[in-house]
């Protein structure tokens, strides 16, 4: 049976995808700006964040309206609750890209970054992009295995961040005080990228809740324990 609610849920999904695509672009551009210490690109990312903020408000208002008007149940309810969480996470991810761009502006004033010796930083940025993209794909396609893959890849990002921070501290902060002002912003970038990975993980956890009605937040060991709905 065709339902009016289905059209509304589709609209909410499309608007969320629009926001996700802007957020993915922000992750990509912020790291490109870092690589080239490109102030113009960094400022463009910062300016575009306002648009993402507006979309977040629109999506949240739409979701609240659907809750009030349709009083959804079961998977409709889980979809809307998940959409609200993803909406908030995407906005926070976009804020983290703004942080990275502010580090770029800072580094530009200090004579550039120390990227060359920090091989793992591009790797961490790639992880962040991969995790956000795939968490959103898992949401769009109801793809639980993909969501699990995103969740399981989070530990690699944690290891990369720790390795990067260790290397920056040992090689550029403790060893040579002169390079510290250019190393500290990179340390903060590593932290922000790892937080983006965390947020992608939260999105993937919400997707599993949406599909399976399992709350795996703080309890990842329950992944794959419950059978799907019986027909």
């Amino acid at each position: 049976m065709e339902r009016h609610l289905d059209d509304e849920l589709q609209k909410l999904k499309e608007n969320l995808l629009k926001m996700a695509s802007l957020t993915e672009r922000a992750i990509h551009d912020s790291f490109e700006a870092l690589k080239g210490i490109n102030k113009d690109l960094a400022e463009a990312v910062i300016n575009r964040d306002e648009h993402i903020d507006d979309l977040e408000i629109d999506n949240e208002e739409h979701a609240i309206e659907l809750l009030a008007l349709f009083q959804p149940m079961a998977k409709d309810l889980r979809f809307i609750v998940t959409a609200m969480h993803i909406n908030a996470e995407l906005e926070l991810i976009a804020d983290l890209t703004v942080n990275i761009c502010q580090r770029v502006l800072e580094l530009a004033d200090k004579g550039g970054a120390l990227l060359a010796p920090i091989n793992d930083l591009p790797h961490l940025a790639d992880n962040a992009k991969w995790m956000v993209k795939n968490a959103i794909d898992a949401f769009v396609n109801n793809d639980e295995p993909l969501a699990e893959k995103v969740i399981l890849s989070d530990s690699e990002s944690n290891q990369l961040r720790s390795a990067i921070i260790q290397r920056l501290v040992d090689g550029f902060i403790v060893k040579d005080g002169k390079t510290a002002p250019r190393a500290i912003p990179l340390l903060l970038v590593a932290r922000d990228l790892e937080r983006i990975c965390d947020r992608a993980t939260y999105i993937a956890e919400e997707v599993i809740y949406m599909i399976q009605a399992k709350m795996i937040r703080h309890h990842r060991e329950i992944l794959n324990q419950d059978p799907p709905l019986k027909s």
């Binding site: 049976m1 009083q71 959804p72 079961a74 998977k75 409709d76 309810l77 889980r78 009605a213 709905l229």
Partner: protein
């Protein structure tokens, strides 16, 4: 979960050749609100009416299986049906007060059960109206005709009438379907309050109402019990796909 007060085992019900309840096995907990939901014609009102043998009044019907209430087989030959209906009260879809005074409406059940003591009757009427949340609205006009009350008040009067004879179970068949939102809210508050004293079984088409007031929800479809579970779980994560499709309005 509380002790199972109503115990239904392999229960089937036939209208002529038509088997409209199919081997239902279900426990209904004491002093909880159980909602029965399902599409029109699924047998939910029929099941409800089996709990006080209201279906006995329909010709060419028969049953298989058993229903025990408080340990008693209610279809056994030795059961006094009038006594059963005193223990298992019922409130219907549309308020159906008698064309008598408010007082006489509530007194009716007591009088036909042979109670004559005026003070006792007055006391029971006051208590019934208090329990039904109607006392403050009608205490100064108990001799008014009940038909002058609003629809919501009439329905609560019917609840008071059912409560005056001190039943153990209260059955409600779509009790709010003819009420406006305010009267519905009052009735729902009342139902939640009543479960402290009574076992309540309610049939409703209103999913939100079932979600708001019941502890346990039972989903029937084409005479079969599909799923029974905690209301909080049925409406967020039902275990059967067909339950999910029904409560999200994909059919029915």
């Amino acid at each position: 979960m509380n002790h199972e007060f109503i115990d239904i085992k392999n229960f089937s019900f036939y209208y002529g050749q038509n088997k409209c309840l199919k081997s239902i096995t279900l426990g209904i907990a004491e002093k909880e609100v159980t909602s029965i939901i399902g599409p029109s014609g699924c047998g939910k009102s029929t099941l409800l009416r089996c709990f006080n043998r209201m279906n006995d009044l329909i010709l060419d019907t028969r049953i298989e299986g058993t229903i025990h209430i408080d340990g008693q087989d209610i279809y056994s030959a030795v059961i006094d049906v009038v006594d059963l209906r005193r223990k298992v009260g019922m409130v219907f879809q549309r308020p159906n007060p008698f064309p008598k005074s408010i007082f006489e409406n509530v007194a009716y059940g007591l009088r036909i059960n042979g109670v004559r003591n005026k003070d006792f009757i007055a006391e029971k009427i006051e208590q019934g109206l208090i329990n039904a949340g109607l006392w403050n609205e009608v205490k100064d006009r108990l001799q008014d005709n009940a038909l002058r009350l609003s629809g919501g008040q009439q329905q609560r009067l019917c609840v008071a009438r059912a409560l005056a004879i001190e039943p153990e179970v209260v059955l409600m068949d779509e009790p709010a379907s003819a009420l406006d939102p305010i009267a519905t809210a009052k009735l729902e508050e009342l139902i939640v309050e009543l479960k402290k004293k009574y076992t309540i079984v309610i049939v409703t088409h209103n999913m939100q109402q079932a979600a708001r007031i019941s502890d346990i929800t039972v989903f029937l479809m084409q005479g079969e019990l599909i799923e029974r579970g905690k209301t909080s779980e049925i409406f967020t994560r039902p275990t059967k796909k067909i339950t999910e499709e029904y409560i999200t309005g994909r059919f029915g």
